[in-house]
């Protein structure tokens, strides 16, 4: 049990320092320094850690992350998203819970253009919650679909979290991004089914209200003007990877260029929104890359101290089968997700889970997609699910965490159902990557 001390020390320290409120990157750095002194030759290890920052960050596979962030932020900040929402609103007729369906469709489109769940939820929440509540929607029909649709960005390409996971785990980033497309659409359909069932069980949860009759011509015009051009961006991002024309980094840069072209076409270009988009990208990139630089050393110390291999030998010694391990790994992520953000969770769990996945010979793209879905759940689980707080931030004053969490619960169940489906039918995730 030589591995137990370094394992308990490293995991215990990182959880402790995070828990007391130290910024995640700084919690990793302190844990690393303790680990380096104990297992890696003291100050020489610290010098090595600083030399390794360049290897951890100066890697081309991480380049899509800031580029996708710029693209998504430009899209939202320029107001192009409002046009998409308006067109979808015109197209969806006088259905019960029509605004919930509008949110869902818009969430899917925004996910394909931004890759950020926080941005998606914040934008749709601030735009749609007041309207939905004004129309008499119960909280579960207002908050739930927005939280569900917002979190689609985690798997629908271009997922920023997917880029990070692929890059850190040495998985083909393009394959992982593409793998999320079908499950993302399937999840969208499952969410739509859930909304339909909710309105069947409780028709008053989303009252019908008079909607202006819109001619087919006007609907088509709205779609042609506001939605179809976004399809070009989606092609530049997803299609070019799928056709093998561009790498993920190139597709991300083409996506940025495409959004620029749209801004000029819609006469929405302004240097102010470009600078603001660069500001958004700078902040998230800086925050994320600093955590990566810290966590890379964490993984190295973890492996060098014997904690990683000892733990793997120990747990695989029980041999309960690969699917039991998969279940346990998802369970650990779901529990961590109640308390932590996605990037931190990913960086703590990857050094432990990846060797297990390799041990059992899992397809890494399939495995990574399951992890992504499990990380996504953490966005909406109380008490610290970040999207819950984003929703409270845009909801009327006095809205409780309990109300928002209950609204999110059925959508979490749908995501868990999708995980089960992907485990049972891996082709849902692997069909598109196998075309590459």
């Amino acid at each position: 049990m030589d591995w137990l001390f370094p394992f308990a020390l490293m995991v215990g320290l990182i959880l402790f320092f995070m828990g007391v409120g130290l910024p995640v990157a700084f919690a990793f750095f302190i844990t690393n320094i303790v680990g380096l002194y104990l297992f890696f030759g003291g100050s020489a290890g610290v010098t090595q850690m600083i030399s390794n920052f360049s290897d951890a960050i100066a890697t081309y596979s991480l380049a899509p992350l800031p580029l996708f962030l710029i693209m998504g932020s430009l899209f939202f900040r320029s107001g192009l998203g409002d046009g998409v929402m308006h067109a979808l609103d015109l197209c969806i007729g006088n259905l019960r819970a029509r605004l919930s369906y509008v949110v869902l469709a818009a969430g899917a489109v925004f996910s394909a253009l931004s890759g950020s769940s926080l941005a998606n939820t914040g934008m749709m929440g601030s735009l749609m919650v007041p309207e939905m509540l004004k129309r008499g929607y119960k909280p579960k029909m207002a908050y739930g679909p927005i939280l569900g649709a917002g979190s689609l960005a985690v798997i629908i390409p271009p997922s920023s979290l997917g880029v990070l996971l692929g890059s850190l785990a040495n998985i083909n980033v393009g394959a992982l991004l593409i793998a999320g497309a079908l499950p993302g659409l399937l999840l969208c359909l499952i969410f739509a089914g859930l909304i339909y069932v909710q309105t069947l069980l409780d028709p008053d949860c989303a009252p019908l209200y008079p909607v202006e009759e819109i001619s087919l011509g006007r609907k088509l015009q709205a779609v042609a003007i506001n939605v179809v051009p976004m399809g070009v961006i989606i092609f530049l991002v997803v299609g070019t990877i799928l056709l093998g024309i561009a790498t993920p980094t190139e597709s991300a840069a083409l996506g940025c260029a495409g959004v620029f072209c749209l801004l000029f076409a819609y006469r929405r270009f302004s240097w102010k929104s470009v600078w603001a988009a660069l500001d958004d990208a700078m902040k998230v990139t800086g925050m994320t890359f600093l955590i990566i630089s810290a966590s890379t050393t964490f993984s190295q110390v973890f492996a060098f101290s014997g904690a990683s291999s000892g733990f793997i030998d120990f747990v695989t010694g029980f041999d309960p089968g690969p699917y039991t391990f998969l279940f346990l790994m998802v369970l650990v992520i779901l529990i961590l997700g109640m308390f932590m953000d996605q990037v931190s969770m990913m960086l703590i769990t990857l050094p432990i889970f990846l060797p297990i996945a390799n041990h059992f010979g899992f397809d890494l793209v399939w495995f990574a997609l399951i992890l992504l879905l499990a990380y996504e759940v953490g966005f909406t689980t109380p008490p610290f699910g970040l999207l819950l707080f984003v929703m409270i931030g845009v909801a009327p004053p006095g809205t409780s965490l309990k109300t928002v969490a209950f609204a999110a619960a059925p959508f979490i169940a749908c995501t868990l159902l999708l995980i089960v489906l992907i485990v049972a039918f891996p082709q849902i995730a692997l069909f598109l990557p196998h075309l590459l």
Binding site: A58, L67, L254, V284, L386
Partner: protein, 170 residues
């Protein structure tokens, strides 16, 4: 003291603004590369390496500005369990720890910077990158961050006083 922290803030903002320009340059470089290649021109040979170093600078130069604007992600599941008084003490301890950590990392990064400068060491990719240019943003980022954390410890602001809509994340 006010003037000093204002100056530190301007420096932090200047570094963060430089990163914005670096990110814009990365977009332009990658798009140009794709266009040139598809038009059968020679792609930019130094582009990939320049982008990679751009990413390194994007990681460390914004650190102090993110400290000031509360842009570093944190969780607080243990902190929240404490009473108000305990939280305040813990908060100051966190700031002190962060100052110590940043100065410690600055010390090692600056030593590596001086060593690289003295030996003239460089990294070879598609072009030769002097190693001191690799350690420079790390030293600068952590040193200014230490000063930004000082701003919190003297009571100018609280790291945890932040609107959830302003929190950064993916």
């Amino acid at each position: 003291m006010e003037t000093f922290f204002k100056l530190v803030g301007w420096l932090s903002l200047a570094l963060a603004s430089l990163v914005k320009l670096i990110l814009a340059a990365i977009v332009i470089e990658v798009v140009s590369d794709v266009v040139l290649r598809n038009l059968n021109f020679r792609p930019i040979s130094w582009g990939v390496s320049a982008t990679e170093y751009g990413l390194l600078y994007s990681a460390f130069l914004p650190v102090p500005w993110l400290v000031r604007t509360k842009g570093h992600v944190f969780v607080e599941f243990l902190r929240r369990a404490l009473p108000q008084g305990g939280r305040l003490v813990l908060e100051k301890a966190v700031y002190a720890l962060c100052i110590g950590l940043c100065l410690y990392l600055t010390f090692y990064a600056f030593a590596a910077f001086l060593d690289a400068l003295a030996t003239g060491a460089y990294e070879t990719k598609t072009f030769d990158m002097p190693k001191w240019l690799i350690f420079l943003p790390i030293s600068l980022g952590f040193f200014l961050s230490a000063l930004e954390w000082c701003r919190y410890i003297v009571g100018h602001d609280s790291l945890y006083d932040i609107d959830v809509l302003d929190r950064e994340g993916l």
